[in-house]
Amino acid sequence: MAMLEVSHMEKRFGNTEVLKDISFSLEKGQSLAIIGSSGSGKTTLLRSLNFLETPDAGTITVDGQLLLDAAVRTKASDKEIRKKRLRFGLVFQNFNLFPQYTALENVMLASQLLAKERPDYRQNRREILEQIRTRGVELLTQVGLQDRLDNYPHQLSGGQQQRVAIARALALDPDILCFDEPTSALDPELTGEVLKVIRSLAERNMTMIIVTHEMAFARDVADQIIFMDGGVIVEQGPARQVIEHPVQERTRRFLSRYQGQS
Amino acid sequence: MKKFVALLLAVVMVAGMTACGAKKAASASDSDMAYVKEKGKLVVGITDFAPMDYQENGQWVGFDADMAKAFAESLGVECQFVEINWDTKAMELDSKNIDCVWNGMTLTNEVTSSMACSNAYCNNAQVIVVPADVAGQYADAESCKDLTFAVEAGSAGEAAVAELGYNYISVADQASALMEVSSGTSDAAVIDLLMAGAMIGEGTSYANLTHTAELTAEEYGVGFRKGSDLAAALNEFFAAAYADGSMAACAKTYGVQDALIAQ
C-alpha cells in the first residue's frame, strides 16, 4: 500500500488556479522529487500537504488513513490538525530556525512541548527530557553537527543552519519528510553538504518529497520525479527516465532550458 | 485564546462605558448635609496657606483649619483635609472629591457664581510686593504701571491687575509669584495681604521683599457645592461661634483677629 496518496487536489488563490487535479502516490521508503519552474504550483502542493494551505478539492491519504477530504467542510479542531500535521515534516527554503535557541534547543523544542501532553509526563519528567536530549544530540550528529550543539543559528553558516532544520524536522519522526527548495537560499559552495544529508536520508529509506531545482541531484537521489507546469502534473515517472528521456514536449523544453542555464 | 481576549476586551469596555455614561438620578434636590452626615466626614479642600491652613507636626492647623474642625464637630462628623490644586477647586467640589473649599478664599464673582458661599468672615486686601530696596519708588499703584507683575492664576490679585490694565503673567500659585519677584523674572507680584504678612519681610525666606500699596479690599468666605444647604448651616455656626467669643479667640491664636468680620 502506498504511504501517501493524493488525489484530485485543487487549489485556487482568488481567480488563479494554482493546483489543478493533482494526483500521485508515493511508496514507503521512496523519495519523490518535484521539479518545475517557479509559479508551477509545486510549493503550494507541498504547503497543502503540511496543512499550511487548505486545498479546495481533493483528498490526502497517509498510510491508509484519510487525513483530508476537502469536500468535507466540517472544520477540524486545532488539535486534530496538529496531529495530522505531525505525519509530515517540512524543511523550508529559508530554514526558519528559531534565532533565540541553540541548535540543540531548536531540535528539542517541539518534542519537549509535545511531551507535556503525555499522561506520564509529571511522573517521568526527568527520563522523558533525557530521552529527548539524547535523541536531539543523535540527530545533530547524524547531520554532522555534533560539535555545534550549543551554537545559535546566527553563529552557523547557511548550510549548517539548514542541516539543523533537517534534524529539527526529523525529531518528530514524520512519516513523510518534505523539502521546499532546501538549497535555493544557499551559496553554491554550501549546497553540497545539505544535499549530502538528504542523500543519506534516502539511503536510510526515509520517505521524502523534495521540491528542487537541482536536476542532477533529483535524478541521482529520487526514485520518482514529478514535473509540474501551470498547476498540473505534466509528467511523472522513474527519476532517471523523466530526466533523461522525457516523454512530454513541455518537460523536454524545461529540462533543456535548465541545462542551458547551468 | 483569541476569542477569549476579544471577550475580555469587550467586557472591560462595556464596563467602562456604563461606569462613565450611567448618570444616577440627580441628587441636586437631596440635602448635601444629609450626604455628608451619611458618609460621616466633611472633606475640606485646602492648599498650604499660612496662617489659614498649614501643617504643624503633620497636623493641619490655622484659623480656617481650626474653624473647619469645629464646624465638622458641630455636625457630628469627622473632618478630613485634602490638598487640592487651587485652579481646579470648582471641579473638585462638583465631582464630590471634596465637600467645601475653606482656605482663605476671596469671594469674587467667579467664586460666588460657581459655589454656594458662606457669609464673609475675614477681611483681606490684594497688595503689591516688590523688592525692598526699590519699595520707595513704588509706593502706590500708579507708580507701578510699567512693571511686569506675577500673579496667581485665577486669583483676586490677577483680577485686580487685569482691571488696572497692567502687564502681568499668571503663575500656578502665590508662592510662585513671590519666587518670580525674588529671582527677578518679574518686577512685582500681587498677593493676599494675610499671606504677605506671613511670608515676606524679615525673618522669612523672602527678607528682600516687602509689600506696598493695597489694590483692592476683599473678603474671605467658605465655598460649598452649588445649592448646598451646608452654607446656611455654616452661617449659623459662625454666628454662634462669634457670639460666644470662640471665633475671636481662634483668630487671635493665628494673628488675624483684626481682620475678623462680625457675624
Binding site: N50, F98 | L9, D48, A50, E83, N97, S182
Partner: protein, 217 residues
C-alpha cells in the same frame, strides 16, 4: 531643615515610584491585549481598539487625567471617593495611556517577526499559544526593548503630571516648601531624584539589551 525637606521629598518620591510601578505592572500586559485587539481578524474589535488607541495617543495625558478623575463625579458617580482615590485615578489614566503606546510598539514588533517563524512552529505541531510564547515572545522582547525603554523613561517624567489632580508626588512635595516656608530650592532639588532614577533605568536597559543580544534576529 535639609533633613525635613529630604524626608518630605522622599515621601513624595515614594508616591512617584508607586505610580510608576503600578503603571508598568498594568500597562505592559494590558498593552499586549490591546495590540492583539488591534490586530484581530474580527473587524469591529480591530476598529474599536484602534479608535481607543487613537484617542489615548492623540490627546494630552493631562486632559485624560482631569477627565478620568473629575468626570465620574460630575456625573454624580464618584468612583474615586476613597482615601487613595487620587492615586488610583492617576494610575488608571497612566495605565490606559501607556497601554496604548505600548500596544503600538508590540504591534510593530509582532508584525516584524517573519511569517516563517509561525509556519515553522505550525509544521512542528505547536499550538498558536506555544508559537507565541515559546517562539515569538523572546524575539518580540528583543525587538521592543529599545522603544519600550524610551517610553518607560518618558513615563518617569510624566508621573509629575499627576500633581495636576493634587497627587502629592515628589514635585508636589517640593512645591509645598514654596508655600509654607518660602523655600524655592526643594522644588529644584527634586531634579536629582528624576536624574538618579532615569540614570538607573538607563543603565538597566543598557544591561538588558546587551543580555538579550546573545542571539540576533
Amino acid at each position: 531643615m535639609f533633613q525635613t525637606v529630604l524626608n518630605a521629598l522622599n515621601q513624595g518620591f515614594l508616591l512617584t515610584l508607586a505610580l510608576f510601578l503600578v503603571t508598568l505592572a498594568g500597562a505592559l500586559p494590558l498593552g499586549l491585549l490591546v495590540s492583539f485587539g488591534s490586530m484581530s481578524r474580527f473587524r469591529p474589535l480591530r476598529y474599536v481598539m484602534r479608535t481607543i488607541v487613537w484617542i489615548f495617543r492623540g490627546s494630552p495625558l493631562l486632559l485624560q487625567l482631569f477627565i478620568i478623575f473629575y468626570v465620574p463625579g460630575e456625573l454624580d458617580h464618584n468612583i474615586w471617593a476613597f482615601s487613595s482615590g487620587r492615586f488610583w485615578a492617576a494610575a488608571t489614566a497612566f495605565i490606559l495611556n501607556y497601554a496604548c503606546y505600548f500596544s503600538e510598539i508590540y504591534r510593530g514588533g509582532i508584525e516584524s517577526i517573519p511569517r516563517g517563524q509561525d509556519e515553522a512552529g505550525l509544521v512542528l505541531g505547536m499550538t498558536k499559544q506555544q508559537i507565541f510564547f515559546k517562539v515569538k515572545f523572546m524575539q518580540l522582547v528583543r525587538r521592543i526593548v529599545p522603544p519600550i525603554s524610551n517610553e518607560i523613561i518618558t513615563l518617569v517624567k510624566d508621573t509629575s503630571l499627576a500633581n495636576s489632580i493634587a497627587l502629592a508626588e515628589v514635585i508636589w512635595a517640593g512645591k509645598k516648601f514654596m508655600k509654607s516656608d518660602g523655600l524655592v530650592w526643594p522644588l529644584f532639588f527634586t531634579i536629582l531624584y528624576y536624574l538618579a532614577f532615569t540614570g538607573l533605568l538607563t543603565l538597566f536597559f543598557g544591561w538588558l539589551e546587551k543580555k538579550l543580544s546573545y542571539y540576533s534576529v
